[in-house]
């Protein structure tokens, strides 16, 4: 289908964007790469009065490493990823690979080449699709989001940013400027996995894991699940059970038995909550085994996909 009618504007300054947001409020939508917004317009799922194309805001296009030279003990180096950085740029950025390896690994699973050439990092974050890789992996890396309005800037932790289905902490007078990633320590291990019907489609279920393995104990373990609920979910219970526990197959099996206390899973059109729970359990086991660099060897009658 075709988009409904709307007005289009392409301002060249933040002030002009804020003035338009003040004037049109909820009737305005920010247009970044358009790879989620335009399908939703074409399907008539939204009908904004005005599209504000922010493609002239050059500041939003930067990937910038900010070195901490003052005090090497306290704060770490940070990577600033502008909201208009495209998927195809993230996919090939060695800085992203260093600072946000899960995001880097997830990118080949995001749609297809002709979408990644225009789709933007910030657009995906602001759209906050619960089945999308980008919000989830940004949450896995505990990024900080910088939101700017006419009143100034505020910083929101990823944990406080994703509120629900397509719902974020961005206020109608604000735009997302960038995400900031802290540099991980050496030796961080990461696993990204998802199950999908066709590569490039939205995941049926997926997850990202990072942590440091030290003498069979996993430290600073963080697990984020996506495509399981109305927003990406951070594991609390499974991570707690694994804390100070030996990471072997027995320890992993024991922790996974707490998965139902970890997350509440919602079904979607194709997979009900039982199927999704089953799939995320299988995926979690494979992923934790991958984290400790063990082969996944299904036994007879075990949960195979």
């Amino acid at each position: 289908m075709k988009s409904p009618s709307f007005l289009y504007v392409r301002p060249e300054s933040f002030d002009a964007v804020f003035a338009l947001l003040a004037e049109y409020g909820d009737d305005a939508k920010i247009l970044a790469g358009g790879q989620s917004l335009l399908p939703s317009l074409n399907m008539r799922l939204s009908a904004p009065a005005v599209l504000i194309d922010i493609s002239l805001l050059q500041e939003l296009k930067e990937i910038k490493e900010v070195k901490n030279i003052e005090d090497s003990n306290k704060a770490k180096d940070t990577l600033h990823v502008g909201a208009l950085v495209k998927y195809c740029e993230i996919e090939t950025s060695s800085l992203i690979e260093t600072y946000a390896p899960l995001l880097y690994r997830a990118l080949p699973f995001v749609a297809h080449k002709a979408v990644r050439s225009r789709g933007t990092f910030g657009g995906s974050i602001a759209f906050a699709d619960a089945a999308s890789e980008t919000p989830a992996m940004t949450l896995a890396h505990e990024a900080i989001f910088v939101l700017r309005s006419a009143l100034g800037e505020r910083r929101v932790r990823a944990d406080d940013f994703f509120l629900g289905l397509y719902e974020t902490a961005i206020q109608p007078n604000e735009i997302l400027v960038r995400a900031e990633f802290k540099k991980p320590h050496l030796g961080q291990r990461c696993v990204f996995r998802e199950i999908m019907r066709r590569k490039g489609d939205y995941a049926t279920v997926g997850l990202g894991i990072r942590g440091y393995i030290n003498q069979d104990i996993c430290q600073d373990l963080r697990i984020v699940y996506f495509a399981v609920a109305d927003k990406p979910l951070v594991s609390t219970r499974v991570v707690e059970v694994l804390r100070n526990r030996k990471m072997d197959t027995a320890g992993i099996d024991f922790a996974i038995s707490y998965l139902e206390e970890d997350i509440q899973v919602y079904g979607d059109t194709y997979h009900d909550e039982h199927t999704k729970m089953h799939l995320i359990r299988v995926l979690l086991k494979r992923s934790l085994l991958e984290l400790i660099q063990m082969e996944y060897a299904p036994t007879e009658g075990s949960e195979n996909v």
Binding site: S5, Y8, A16, L38, P39, M43, L51, V115, G200
Partner: protein, 175 residues
């Protein structure tokens, strides 16, 4: 008559408008037009410029039939507004055909019977052609990955991959 543009810098538009003036290069020719804000680039190309090689399938970015090149990058013509294409350079299958740059691929598609109904073919050719400009000898896996966003509802994928592969395997064709 406007002068030839510098690469890819769209003009700012200060007030929200329903009709947008655009200036872009399509298949090497400078085009000036006034478009409705809601017009998709692929509709502009097909209906205003008569370039019907880019096809409309799903109009939601899934099928890939409207794939064209924008500043050298593959894009979905249904997920770009004509207004967003201001200041850019577009290449469609017509341009690629006229310049001859995809001729060996087109020949390979014919020889391998890689076009059945032909609906996906223009986008398949541009998509596969883009891969061959970056990688002169991709694996079958890489070819499949490249065309993974393009539906062929005749399911002639095997023949399409064969055709792309035959471009660099001594010109030989598959069964």
């Amino acid at each position: 008559m406007s002068k030839l543009m510098q690469k890819s810098i769209p003009k700012s538009i200060h007030e929200p408008q329903e009709r947008i003036d655009i200036e872009l290069k399509v298949n090497g020719k400078l085009v000036n037009a006034k478009v409705l804000a809601r017009t998709h680039l692929v509709d502009f190309l097909r209906e205003d410029l008569g370039l019907t090689g880019a096809h409309l399938g799903c109009e939601q970015g899934v099928c890939g039939a409207c794939t064209i090149l924008l500043d050298g990058a593959l894009v979905r013509g249904c997920l770009v507004l004509a207004a967003q294409a201001d200041g850019t350079e577009i290449e469609t299958i017509e341009g690629a055909f006229q310049s001859g740059r995809l001729q060996s691929l087109i020949d390979a598609f014919q020889q391998c019977n890689a076009a059945q109904c032909g609906f996906c073919s223009p986008a398949m050719l541009l998509t596969a052609g883009e891969l061959l400009t970056r990688n002169s000898k991709p694996s079958r896996e890489e070819i499949r990955e490249q065309i993974s966003g393009n539906y062929c509802r005749c399911t002639g994928y095997q023949a399409i991959v064969n055709a792309v592969e035959s471009c660099f395997t001594n010109g030989g064709t598959h069964d």
